[in-house]
Symmetry: C2
Subunit: 281 residues, 2 copies
Amino acid sequence: MKKVAIQGGLGAYHDIAARNYFGEEIEIVPCLTFKEIFLKAQKDEHLIGIMAIENTIAGGLLLNHDLLKLNDMKIAGEHKLRISHTLSALPGQRLQDIREIVSHPMALMQCSDFIESLPQVKVVEHEDTALAAREIMEGNTPGIAAICSKLAAEVYHLEVIREGIETNKRNFTRFLVLAHEEMVPEIRKSSDIDKASLVFVLPHSEGSLSRVLSVLSFYDINLTRIQSLPIIGREWEYQFYIDLTFSNFERYRQSIKAILPLVGNLKVLGEYVEDKHIVAD
Amino acid sequence: MKKVAIQGGLGAYHDIAARNYFGEEIEIVPCLTFKEIFLKAQKDEHLIGIMAIENTIAGGLLLNHDLLKLNDMKIAGEHKLRISHTLSALPGQRLQDIREIVSHPMALMQCSDFIESLPQVKVVEHEDTALAAREIMEGNTPGIAAICSKLAAEVYHLEVIREGIETNKRNFTRFLVLAHEEMVPEIRKSSDIDKASLVFVLPHSEGSLSRVLSVLSFYDINLTRIQSLPIIGREWEYQFYIDLTFSNFERYRQSIKAILPLVGNLKVLGEYVEDKHIVAD
């Protein structure tokens, strides 16, 4: 059985993404932080990881981009999931009983309109949506509610007080499936690779990015995402994360060779199969 | 006296940025949210705003990009500030007395290593670093500390327990100075405009971004930042925010005309003077 490390506990959105991607029974290895996934994987070459990388509301998760750059695991696949949050508490609790809401900062932000409609309620951060739900169950604490998935409410025997409380219903997260290089072929959805993610550094000179993108377009490579990121320690200089899609893998490999002399510190973060459908949780 | 709306209370980092930019006595108008700045400005054509737009640790503040796109205020200037956080509480409190830390989610994230070193402490979100400090003063509550600026600790008569608690010391934030179009010339640092910010939409076709950047480079325009953002409601399509610098303003204006037929929904968010120095708070 495949072992998949996720940030968060059972019922976390990463858990849902992992089950959707593999569609078979897997063993979930809960981690408190994204960094812990990579640390655990250093000691276990068969460990697979799942990590959110961007969200239609919050944009790119920048620290996770750094983790990809600094570690050896490769992107083996991606999964796009619609995120819908619930407010859940001990059975029998009603909305007017709730005086404190606990969840992950990202989930709290995504439900900001709902939270603003409850001015008397205290908002408390937690590392994880699902673990927040578990603590309410374990502590048997009335008056506290978690913002979490419907699955987490089920797993920890909480009652859903409200569902669909996210401000924007078009709230999608893109998750990456990570694995050691030798494991990647087994984990890819198919051998028809049509997407890749890269990171590189460019000098701050006129046209440096334009040259790179021109070369990619000459090779019929499509750019689906670009993000310039500050380089910590060299303020206001930038590195670039880009996602490419293509129909011809050989052409893509040639294009990478062609841009190599134009960029610094190029790293291919993964070559995988694009997820063309968005799954509702 | 100029009236400057900021997110947060007196002593907030936005307050520091405003005072640094204007270098003269100003009237600060505290707002609870960034949106409130724009709402207040709709009723007062002389109101100036200050808004963080990117940070070397967290990257771009995406919701603030949206506010710029959807509202009429223009970028009249920018200010880059090094952010250094303190842990502050009622006078006489020591680190071991603190059982709860309150601050803005961004500040909490920036001090994550310090917070992780205090496993017994509860972490509570607040809308603002400075208002968190004020509440401790007003409530006269021992055992609670705020993560806030040194200025906020002073303003609200708190004692600094630890300073420089940010995980990465190279923590810089870029603030934008916003004003109604008629006010912009008065607020710009000088008439030597050398920077502009744009937003536009591109079709997902091969080479569409490459063409735009090529045209800009033919006009000797330098790209200092690019961010592709998801368009909410049209998932996994992207709009682009870019910052440009240039030495010839006429050339820059010509380049904008030249890219106009290649992009959709182009909006110039502002034309201003680049801040070339970073000020420590």
